[in-house]
């Protein structure tokens, strides 16, 4: 078990190194470098930079050194928590991402919990009562949910929420709290804004998850161990919840790996439509403006989150499935 964990951890580290190399390449892919972009930026404001000054800047940032050395220095700074300075925002990247990262995670985690709370019970119900009226209703709703693009749903819900329910729509804060420091009132304001984006983000995932849970469980329900459990005298509900549902959760644990990066990025399109200050739109802006350090930091973060997510799902699988836990025994 320990060996299994250590091997996973080792693989995760190697993957992280590859991700950092890839990220570095992506950052440097556009022609020119940070100084060129900086000069162009200044030039558009009417100021100029002399060739010597440019050389001095390149030396300062180490851009005159071989690529490998540059990578090493960049990684060195990253490891110390210094992701460089965002050109667009003219602030350290960590600061720019910082606040948004927490907000993104709040939105995503609430959406995720909402998804699970709705999808798992419905999926279990649909499988246990396959082809019943309720199953057909949920299946229909599920396919509609799958077919409607997120952003459209966001627009519709915004309209309905604003027009008929008088909800706070758009953004995560009321105008007066956007720049305000954290306080109880600001947190409450956030809570009031949270349901709409959480619902929009949750619904599409819910439809998908219902289908997955239903299919997984239908497979498991046909297995003989379910009959064994019922032949002991357990109620159908007890037998199903203890045995096949547990087995059907295996694929969910694996899917956490894909959910982790989503937790930090949020959905870009939905965030744009709803005006959410999450990391997603930030990445889009950074890519459009060729803000390399900011984009690099976010891409790096997403990559690392994928790796961490994989690790977490490995550990979860070990916990759920004794075959993996005892594999080395």
């Amino acid at each position: 078990m320990v060996i299994y964990l250590l091997r996973r951890l080792g693989l995760a580290l190697v993957t992280c190194v590859f991700i950092s190399v890839l990220t570095f390449i992506i950052i440097r892919l556009p022609p020119g470098d940070f100084v060129d972009a900086y000069i162009a930026n200044l030039a558009s404001n009417g100021s100029t930079v002399s060739g010597e000054q440019a050389e001095a800047m390149r030396r300062e940032y180490g851009l005159d050194r071989p690529v490998v050395v540059q990578y090493a220095r960049w990684m060195g700074r990253v490891l110390q928590g210094d992701f460089g300075v965002s050109m667009v925002w003219r602030r350290p990247v960590t600061e720019v991402i910082g606040d948004r990262l927490w907000l993104t995670m709040v939105v995503s985690v609430s959406a995720l919990f909402l998804t699970w709370m709705i999808a798992l019970p419905i999926g279990i119900y649909s499988a246990m009562r396959q082809y019943s009226f309720g199953d057909y209703v949920f299946t229909t709703l599920g396919f509609i949910g799958l077919a409607i693009p997120n952003f459209l749903l966001a627009l519709i819900l915004m309209y309905v929420g604003f027009r008929y329910l008088g909800l706070n729509v758009g953004g995560l804060f009321s105008a007066e709290y956007i720049q305000a420091p954290w306080s109880l009132a600001r947190a409450w304001d956030l809570t009031k804004h949270l349901p709409l984006p959480a619902a929009v983000l949750a619904l599409a995932g819910t439809a998908q998850l219902i289908r997955i849970m239903r299919a997984n469980l239908l497979d498991e329900l046909r297995k003989p161990y379910v009959v064994t459990a019922r032949a002991k005298g357990l109620t159908e509900r007890r037998a199903v919840l203890k045995y096949p549902v547990r087995a059907a959760l295996n694929p969910f644990a694996s899917s956490i790996a894909y959910l982790f990066p989503y937790l930090v990025s949020g959905s870009i399109i939905v965030s744009l439509v709803l005006g959410l200050p999450t990391v997603g739109p930030l990445l889009l802006q950074a890519l459009v403006a060729q803000d390399m350090f900011l984009a690099g930091a976010i891409v790096l973060l997403l990559g690392f989150m994928t790796v961490i997510g994989t690790l977490v799902s490995d550990v979860l699988l070990m916990w759920i499935d004794p075959r993996i836990r005892l594999g080395g025994r």
């Binding site: 009959v227 032949a231 357990l234 499935d321």
Partner: protein, 342 residues
């Protein structure tokens, strides 16, 4: 004066049991009027080809037939002709009473001990659950009982094995766990659905002798489902031969082997490989295949494959079912021979 032995008590009487599966393609009659008795301390061997309704019978008794299957006729009497008589066919499958019967009065042993046990829980967990379902005892007591059960079914070092997961055990040990689980509620009837099919030959013999020993110790009424005539010869006291959802012959085991009445029984016996056969002799098979229960032949269901059929009589009329509790065959030819003797 001859005393009526205890073993003659009828534990379960199945009468005219019919089970149908309704689908868009039509109605499939999986069981079509099955009758037999299970006696305490005796073994009833149920034999037949795949799809003849052996397993459906087992599941029907426990009321665990999956949708869209349902019992359309018949009675299943537990403790028949006593004040405690219960008709299982009339109970709600999810009722408290039916669940007390499952595991508590009737235990079930499965064919495939790997898939019949959940890989997600230790064998102890799964046995203790069965123990506590049917007796109101503490977790510690239930654990001791589970260890005792494992010892009873011949599992070495039960104190440590109880913490094992099913995939850590060999096939034979897993089937022993399955038997321990079926016995956890101390049932007086045990249904074993092909308990040795998935095991190798030596393990088969061990499991069969274990079942025999447990049956004698506990005076269990055992219903042993198999397609193996060798297992029948070894284990059964009485034999019910099934074909297409009907019992086509019922008789004590020695009669089945010595004087089989039904052509189907004779065909089954011919299909058993013999150690006395000359080398390269072709093994006798039954011509054709079991018809799909949805397209049941007219008349006697076996007549299209029957080497001894009597023409129009067999293809147009259905022979009378075997009366419960008596030897006989559901066959026109057997009826004639019987009359000729009488």
């Amino acid at each position: 004066m001859r005393q009526i032995p205890m073993v003659d008590r009828v534990a379960l009487a199945i009468r005219d049991l019919a089970v149908q599966f309704e689908s868009e393609q039509g109605i499939v009659r999986a069981l079509d009027g099955v009758s037999f008795d299970l006696h305490a301390g005796r073994t009833l061997g149920v034999v037949g080809e795949s799809g003849c309704g052996k397993s459906v019978t087992a599941r029907s008794i426990l009321r665990l037939v999956d949708r869209p299957g349902r019992i359309t006729a018949g009675r299943m009497l537990l403790d028949p002709a006593t004040p405690d008589e219960i008709d299982l066919a009339a109970l709600d499958p999810e009722s408290r009473k039916m669940r007390d019967v499952r595991g508590g009065r009737i235990g079930l042993i499965f064919q495939e001990p790997m898939t019949a046990l959940s890989v997600h829980y230790t064998v102890g967990n799964q046995i203790i659950e069965a123990v506590r379902q049917h007796s109101d005892i503490s977790a510690a007591e239930a654990r001791n009982r589970a260890i005792e059960l494992l010892r009873e079914v011949g599992i070495p070092r039960p104190e440590t094995r109880i913490e094992s997961y099913p995939f850590e055990l060999s096939g034979g040990l897993r089937q022993r766990v399955g038997i321990a689980m079926a016995l956890a509620g101390d049932p007086e009837i045990v249904i074993a659905d092909e308990p040795t099919t998935a095991l190798d030959v030596t393990t088969q013999a061990q499991i069969l002798s274990l079942l025999q020993r447990l049956q004698q110790e506990k005076n269990i009424a055992l219903m042993l489902i198999t397609h193996d005539m060798g297992v029948i010869a070894e284990m059964a006291d009485d034999v019910a031969v099934m074909y297409l959802g009907r019992v086509v012959e019922f008789a004590p085991v020695h009669e089945i082997f010595a004087t089989p009445r039904h052509p189907y029984t004779r065909a089954l016996l011919r299909a058993v490989p013999s150690i006395l056969a000359t080398p390269r002799q072709r093994l006798s098979t039954i011509g054709g295949a079991v018809p799909h229960p949805g397209s049941r032949p007219s008349g006697c269901p076996f007549h299209p494959r029957c080497p001894e059929q009597l023409g129009a009589l067999c293809s147009e009329q259905v022979p009378k079912p075997v009366p419960a509790g008596r030897s006989g065959a559901s066959c026109f030819k057997a009826e004639r021979e019987h009359e000729a003797v009488a």
